[in-house]
Structure formats: C-alpha cells, structure tokens
C-alpha cells in the first residue's frame, strides 16, 4: 500500500509544472495542454484522498472534472481555431485586444 502523501507529492509536482507551462509558453495550444496537466494533477490528489479516507466523493468529483475538461477543450480549441482564422498567427502575445 503506497501512502497517500507520495501520490500528493507527485500531484503537487505535476500541478506546479502545469502552472509554469501556462505562464511560460506562448502557443495557446500548449497552454491548454499544460492546463490539462494541472487538472489531472488535481484528479490524482482527489483520488489519493478518496483512497485515504475511504469515501466515494473523490471518485464522483473526478468524473465531473473529466466531463468539464472535455467541454473546456472542445470550446477552447474552437475559439483558438476561430482566432487563427482571423489573424493567421498563433501567439498569446498578439491577443491583447481586451486588455486595458
């Protein structure tokens, strides 16, 4: 039996890498992938807690996270493709229209 703190340590590392990837990359596609990484790290932590405390809530929440991630990726990629169609470039530095 692996102690849950090991899983939590891996989850913390993956979440940090995901956050750093969101900040450090310029391609919105890779930013989305880093976001998925962070979501998956949260899933791993939820399941570690679910195993540790013997409750079923973590598993139900993980299913919700998966569904929300699927919806988010579908809408986000459609937005990225729409932006690319208008601008013919793909860098988050160009998308400053809504910044004050």
């Amino acid at each position: 039996m692996i102690p849950d703190s090991w899983y939590l340590a891996v989850s913390a590392a993956l979440f940090t890498i995901g956050v750093v990837g969101v900040v450090i990359r310029r391609n919105p596609l890779v930013i989305f992938m880093s976001l998925e990484l962070a979501l998956n790290a949260a899933n791993l932590a939820l399941l570690a807690f679910s195993q540790r405390w013997g409750t079923a809530d973590g598993q139900a929440l993980v299913l919700f996270v998966m569904a929300v991630a699927a919806a988010e990726v579908a809408v986000g990629l459609a937005i990225i493709v729409a932006i690319f169609r208008v601008r013919q470039r793909l860098s988050v530095d160009d998308l400053s229209l809504m910044r004050w």
């Binding site: 399941l47 579908a74 459609a78």
Partner: protein, 161 residues
C-alpha cells in the same frame, strides 16, 4: 509496489517537463499522452479500475485526438521560433513555480502527521451511488454543460457568411 510507484512517478514528472520544455506542439501532445497514461497506471495502483480506463478513453482517446486535430489544422512549428520579446518576465515563472512547489510540499509534509483513519477502499458501486444520489444535481448540470459546449462549438466553427 514502491519500485513501480517510483518508476511511474518518474515517467509522469519527466513527461510533464517534456511537455513544457519542447518547442514543437506535437511533441508536447505526445508527452501529454504519456503523462495521462502514467496517471491511469496510478489509478490502477490505487484500485480505481473504472476511472483508469475512463481516463484512457476520455483523455487519451477523445481529448488528445482533438488536440492533434487542432495542431494539424493550425500549421504549428512557426509560433515560438522567434526571440521572445518578454523573456525576462516569462523566466520569472521558474522561481515563482519553485515557490509554489515548496508551499505544496510543505502542505503535504504537514499532512503526513495527521492520524490515519481505518482504511477501507471505496468500491465502484459506492462512488456511482454517490454520483446518482448526493451529486445528482451536479450530474444533471454536467449534461447541460456538455450540451452548451456542443452548441457553442458548432456556432464557433460555422463559416462566416
């Protein structure tokens, strides 16, 4: 068991670093597939068989196909080749990320002292019962969310007249 855990953890963290470090988005996508697979292996080790296979089917099957499709449509490989005009600001992410990792590590280390309860692994049936009783309203909301996402994607993908 511990050796297997260390190996899978190494693969998971290594593929995550590769995702962030590689320039070409298709390499990032392949690294993400490896990472999702290693997380599925973790779920199997914890005894959550259904979620492990749902992870593979939903993430590696559906979401990654979307990503690869988008990379194919968007002519990648040209975006991050030039010099980064905001490089000093972006590199600020590394020390800040290290600080975040330190904080999370401290939280995990503090939790280790907590007394362990009687461990009884929750079964698949229990989680599904919770899904359809305690979480019935969020479950229905998820279906609305998926429908809204589908309609939104259709609207976004429609060719402008």
């Amino acid at each position: 068991m511990a050796v297997a855990f260390a190996l899978i953890a190494l693969v998971a963290v290594g593929s995550a670093v590769g995702l962030v470090a590689k320039r070409n988005p298709i390499h990032a996508a392949l690294f993400l597939v490896v990472n999702l697979g290693s997380l599925a292996a973790f779920y199997l080790m914890m005894g959550f068989q259904f979620l492990a296979f749902a992870q593979i089917i939903v993430y590696a099957g559906a979401i990654m196909v979307l990503f690869v499709f988008a990379i194919m449509v968007l002519i990648p490989g040209k975006e991050e080749t030039g010099p980064d005009p905001r490089r000093p600001w972006r590199l600020l992410a590394l020390p800040l990320g290290a600080a975040l990792l330190l904080e999370l590590g401290l939280i995990v280390a503090a939790r280790r002292a907590a007394p362990a309860p009687a461990a009884r692994p929750p079964g698949f049936e229990a989680s599904m019962t919770a899904l359809f009783t305690d979480y019935l309203f969020p479950f229905e909301l998820t279906s609305v969310l998926l429908l809204a996402a589908m309609v939104g994607v259709l609207v976004l993908a429609r060719r402008r007249a």
